[in-house]
């Protein structure tokens, strides 16, 4: 059971606005991933793009690993255009995972950051107060499924095209910080673009709230060998692929 294996495309759907849901059927026995872990994926056969790309595990069903990603550059474009039956290279599961929520919890997803939290709410269904934000309605995906898995779903868009108007971090922090909030004291799990996580930090830090964030950095190896993917921790650099991708908010210098 190696964490380096080949897998076959078993499904590929383009959801709205450039977001692709890719399912893989591993060619070998594989290690079961935990929510928050990630995989390095790559189409085979050419040195451009050269490096594998990291993607969070989105879901595991019937021995299929699935990933939800936004088409941004070369590699995601190639991955999104693979046909059923084509074979790719996979390394994973990698990195740490979201710590188990002892109770109900708050989940905050910005854009395609939803990919990493989906597996968490699937595992701990009906326990998440889920805040899901995006610039606009078109970037929101799988609302039905998320709403059935979450205890409560709050949608926030910057252009007010769906749900509340504003940014998701404010909506979430406001909800937590109102006096006697039911959310007060619950652990928070967040994934999204860096500015969003920064904003969340500035709203929640010093309030005694346990907050876990899943970070992104450019990666080469994904296994801790190259030291390429570091973020600034309190005393030293931390590897996102090894000590992360999930960090307690107060481990990081924002």
């Amino acid at each position: 059971m190696s964490r380096f294996f080949k897998a076959e495309i078993s499904g590929s759907d383009i959801l709205n606005s450039d977001i692709c849901l890719l399912s893989l059927k591993p060619h070998a026995e594989y290690e079961h991933p935990l929510p928050g872990q990630f995989y390095m994926l790559q189409a085979i056969g050419c040195y451009d793009p050269l490096l594998k790309r990291p993607f969070s595990i989105f879901s595991i069903k019937n021995n299929n690993l699935s990933f939800l990603f936004r088409v941004r550059g070369k590699a995601t474009k190639i991955l999104s255009s693979l046909k059923k039956g084509e074979v790719i290279d996979v390394i994973g599961p990698l990195g740490n995972s979201y710590p188990e929520p002892g109770s109900d919890f708050v989940a905050v997803a910005g854009g395609v950051g939803v990919a990493s939290l989906y597996n968490l709410i699937e595992k701990y269904s009906c326990r998440a107060h889920f805040f899901y934000g995006a610039k606009t309605k078109d970037e929101l995906v799988l609302l039905d499924k998320i709403s059935s898995l979450a205890k409560e779903l709050t949608i926030v868009t910057q252009d007010c095209s769906c749900g509340l108007e504003g940014v998701v971090t404010d909506a979430c922090a406001d909800a937590i910080c109102i006096p006697d909030s039911a959310l007060n004291g619950l652990p928070v799990y967040a994934c999204g673009p860096n500015p969003m996580l920064k904003a969340l930090h500035s709203r929640l830090s010093g309030k005694g709230i346990k907050c876990y964030v899943s970070l992104e950095e450019h990666m080469a190896c994904g296994v801790g060998a190259c030291l390429g993917c570091v973020v600034k921790g309190i005393n030293e650099y931390k590897r996102v692929c090894k000590e992360g991708p999930v960090f307690s908010m107060d481990e990081i210098q924002w």
Binding site: S2, F4, L50, L51, A220, A225, C226
Partner: protein, 303 residues
């Protein structure tokens, strides 16, 4: 059966394939993907006498068929390496080559001495692609006089096989290799990364925080093979070749050009079992071509 074992000075390797410094950690990360005792040798992440934090992120960027890195030589330092990493490596049937560097000649010598005394290190590889902070930031590896000074000092400080790792950012790499040989190096290894940069046109900033980085990967392979060939013409000591080796065919290009052994770097990231596939690919090549001993084809380029 073919013979794959080669000699780097008095260091005997079971086969010519090692892993390049900085791309394989201290061996732990890749141990789960294959039995690292099958390697010709392991070259560990560059060590300095004093631990180093390294550069701020982003540290890497991808380029066509290559990557830039500016890790900034982050490492745990020689002492922690000896205390925490070496004990495990000592238990393995594996040649351990310690890659090291310094900010000054004194630091080079201190690191070399400590690594020599540690027991369990089979050879030293000195990375000279670093500036001398005490002498006007001249990069040791691009100035023959600075290089002569530092290699001579390290040579006096160790009786382990000494490999000098050459910088490709020079006009005449054959001449630089000759300097290393003259100063008593047992071997040279090449190439280290080539300095490069790439720019995010949106922000008009470099894509890596350090502005410039080192280019590695298949993109640089033709340059590396040429340099190995040039060095082969200028020195008698063995050569360890590297730069964009992804497959056994690539490794054989270096060997035919003059390398007695090769290092696999960036390829590990793309294919965690690359080094092992390269060893067996070299073996198949020899069998196919009826060559009994790898040593027969070292430097055998027909021109």
């Amino acid at each position: 059966m073919v013979n794959l074992s080669v000699k780097i000075g008095r260091l005997e390797l079971p086969n010519p394939v090692m892993t390049a410094s900085g791309t394989f950690g201290y061996g732990q990360e890749y141990s789960e993907f294959f039995d690292i005792e099958r390697l010709g040798a392991i070259v560990v992440k560059g060590l300095s006498y004093v631990p180093k934090q390294g550069n701020p992120p982003p540290r890497i960027a991808e380029t066509p068929a290559g990557m830039l890195n500016a890790i900034g030589l982050q490492n745990i330092g020689v002492d922690r390496f000896i205390a925490e990493k070496l004990p495990h490596l000592r238990t393995l049937d594996l040649k351990v080559i310690a890659n090291f560097f310094g900010d000054s000649i004194v630091e080079y010598v201190k690191a070399a001495e400590a690594l020599t005394d540690s027991g369990g290190v089979h050879a030293l590889e000195m990375n000279i692609s670093c500036p001398n902070k005490q002498a006007g930031w001249i990069v040791f590896g691009t100035n023959p006089d600075a290089m002569r000074e530092v290699v001579t000092a390290v040579r006096k400080a160790t009786d382990l096989p000494l490999i000098v790792k050459l910088s490709p950012n020079v006009t005449d790499i054959g001449m630089m290799a000759k300097v290393a040989e003259d100063c008593g190096a047992d071997a040279v290894s090449l190439i280290n990364t080539i300095t490069g940069m790439c720019i995010d046109t949106k922000t008009r900033r470099s894509k890596i925080a350090n502005v410039t980085g080192g280019l590695s990967g298949p993109a640089i392979r033709p340059i590396a093979v040429r340099m190995v060939w040039e060095v082969n013409k200028s020195v008698m000591i063995p050569i360890i070749g590297m730069g964009g080796i992804m497959t056994a065919q690539d490794a054989l290009e270096f060997i035919i050009a003059g390398a007695s052994a090769v290092s696999v770097g960036t390829a590990n990231f793309i294919n965690p079992v690359a080094a092992i596939e390269i060893i067996s690919g070299i073996e198949s090549y020899l069998l196919e071509h009826g060559i009994a001993d790898i040593n027969e084809i070292i430097g055998s380029l027909k021109t």
